[in-house]
């Protein structure tokens, strides 16, 4: 028995696992160490989430009488929101956005690029990887502007290339524009995740399949996909949440024209700040939080089931 364990933990039962508390922190010390971080998280993450519940039930506004003296209105905000066609449209647009841009776009493209990269020469691999990553790393305001420039009606490069002068892509195809923009921004994450997942597939299993005569597609189906199922799940979960919550399309279309690309984050913002209805905004925020939670728990449930099998 070493000195290091002498003073910290009291002997516990027959089998003593090798203590990890080598610095002698102890439970109390650990508490002190964790306190500031937990306090910050509690204040700026948990508390707002909880306060949303309260705020959503007031008629709080940004200016005017209700700003100084908010009244409790119970579930009025929620009934208003759930009865508002604008909300349902926004929700529908958001789901389409998440499905097309996130689940289909980023995941498929990210996987395909990761799979394809493995068969490229090193220099080509570097180039493609760098380009995909640069799209992700570039600050979002800049990225948005790059697409504004690309899609510009008069001088946009896309119109030059496709020889379709005068097409205002952002006005005529707002959803398509933000979906493709979001794919451009987000694919890097999936690509990196799948790259590392693919690298972890035991080469001997792939070679076994090859020896059995399996084609590339059969190897993908029988060896690769089953091996990375967990990663696919995690990736889709994160992409879904991030895409659902992303505010960046606002920079491209500001939800327009006339709300045709007003996904939920933009809808909340416009209700709450330019629209000044903080209480209503909070109510929608809570709905959004709940949807996020449901998505996250749903995926976790899927993950646990898969593990049990």
């Amino acid at each position: 028995m070493s000195l290091a364990t002498a003073s910290t933990q009291p002997p516990r039962g027959r089998r003593r696992p090798r203590p990890a508390d080598v610095a002698g922190l102890g439970r109390a010390g650990a508490g002190v160490f964790m306190a500031p971080a937990l306090a910050l998280i509690g204040l700026f993450l948990i508390f707002p989430a909880l306060w949303t519940i309260y705020l959503g039930m007031t008629d709080y506004r940004l200016t005017g009488l209700a700003a100084a003296d908010p009244q409790f209105v119970g579930l009025d905000n929620y009934t208003a929101v759930l009865g508002d066609a604008g909300f349902w449209r926004s929700l529908r647009l958001t789901l389409v956005f998440v499905l097309l841009s996130g689940v289909v776009g980023q995941t498929l493209l990210g996987f395909s690029v990761a799979w394809g990269l493995r068969r490229l020469r090193p220099w080509a691999k570097s180039v493609v990887e760098t380009l995909v990553l640069a799209a992700w790393v570039v600050p979002t305001s800049v990225g948005a502007f790059l697409w504004l420039a690309l899609l510009d009606r008069r001088d946009g490069t896309l119109n030059r290339i496709l020889d379709t002068p005068g097409t205002a892509w952002l006005i005529e195809y707002p959803m398509a524009s933000i979906v493709i923009f979001n794919i451009w921004v987000g694919t890097a994450f999936s690509m990196l995740l799948f790259s590392s997942a693919l690298g972890a597939v035991p080469p001997s299993q792939l070679e076994s399949a090859r020896m059995a005569g399996a084609s590339t597609w059969q190897q993908l189906r029988d060896v690769v996909l089953p091996n990375i199922r967990g990663h696919i799940l995690t990736n889709t979960l994160l992409i879904t949440l991030w895409t659902f919550n992303t505010f960046t399309p606002y920079l491209l279309t500001a939800g327009g024209p006339s709300g045709r690309s007003e996904i939920l984050p933009v809808y909340i913002y416009r209700t709450a700040i330019p629209g000044g209805q903080l209480g209503v905004g909070a109510a929608i925020s809570l709905l959004m939080l709940l949807i996020n939670l449901v998505i996250a728990l749903g995926y976790m449930r899927l993950g646990r089931e898969r593990r049990r099998r």
Binding site: L3, A23, F44, L45, T52, V138, L148, L278, L289
Partner: protein, 282 residues
């Protein structure tokens, strides 16, 4: 001696497949490169336009940038927010991560996953209204401190997760010897753990900076005065609020704003590789 019969046909098909594959990769590369092409050409063009074109080489645009008081100050603000967040997140994060790594806190794993889940669910978007309210109520509205704290709160759970993972892999023998020499936990952390954990801390610092550098929403709603706005927001106002966008300014500004994160990303990637921590275990 017979040669395998379908060899000729097979090689031809393999060739076609390979050509198609290369073509697909080129298209993908092009898709990602095209918007970026603007960023590397127009800042150097004497008459920048929205179109990507071979530049009429000049550095004029950068002097236009330098003369704009808001632009440079906003980059300074971005730096302030970034460094502030790093300071908060690395300090608090490493303390918490160390405690979680070394001490058997009850419900530790549950806590970590709950925190991670929380930070994905309670995003800036979903919490923007109460955050706004919170800042107003605490008088932190329109202050950079408020923004730093809000940003830190969002980033901290992931940071703790990454750092804990990292610290788990640091051999405990270093701390044990320090303890035998009589060092207290705080000293052990400072003298032994932090120096060894430096690569992990550096990674986390850069990661946090990259997250914060481009963050638009939080400063947008929590800061009202343009003097305090970071580049992410100022950039946006340049191309929306000024009527006719001044492309000389915007192009140069975009480049100057982007270069630090791009550089940092590649630096970290070269040294540590962008590993994926944080919930990537299923």
């Amino acid at each position: 001696m017979t040669v395998a019969p379908a060899a000729g046909r097979r090689t031809a098909r393999k060739f076609v497949v390979r050509v198609l594959f290369v073509l697909a990769m080129v298209v993908v590369g092009f898709f990602f490169a095209l918007p970026l092409a603007w960023l590397v050409t127009q800042p150097f063009d004497a008459t920048p336009t929205m179109t990507v074109s071979w530049p009429d080489w000049t550095l004029e645009n950068f002097s236009v940038l330098a003369e704009n008081p808001y632009a440079l100050r906003s980059i300074g603000n971005s730096l302030v927010l970034g460094l502030g967040t790093i300071a908060v997140v690395v300090t608090l994060g490493s303390l918490a991560a160390y405690a979680l790594s070394r001490v058997r806190v009850p419900g530790r794993d549950g806590l970590l996953y709950a925190l991670l889940l929380l930070s994905s669910v309670v995003t800036g978007t979903a919490a923007m209204v109460p955050l706004f309210q919170l800042m107003v109520a605490t008088g932190l509205i329109n202050t950079q401190t408020g923004v730093v704290l809000a940003l830190s709160g969002g980033v901290l759970p992931t940071v703790i997760f990454i750092l804990k993972d990292f610290m788990d892999s640091i051999p405990k023998s270093y701390e044990e010897s320090a303890r035998l020499y009589g060092a207290r936990p705080g000293q052990i952390l400072r003298h032994v753990v932090v120096p060894i954990a430096r690569p992990g801390l550096a990674f986390v610092a850069v990661w946090a900076l990259v997250q914060v550098w481009g963050n638009f929403l939080l400063p947008y709603i929590l800061l009202r005065s343009p003097e305090a706005q970071p580049a992410a927001v100022i950039m946006y106002t340049f191309y929306t609020e000024s009527g006719q966008a001044d492309l000389s300014l915007i192009s140069a500004f975009s480049l100057v704003f982007s270069v630090p994160v791009i550089l940092m990303y590649f630096l970290v990637n070269r040294r540590y590789g962008f590993r994926f921590h944080g919930g990537i275990k299923s």
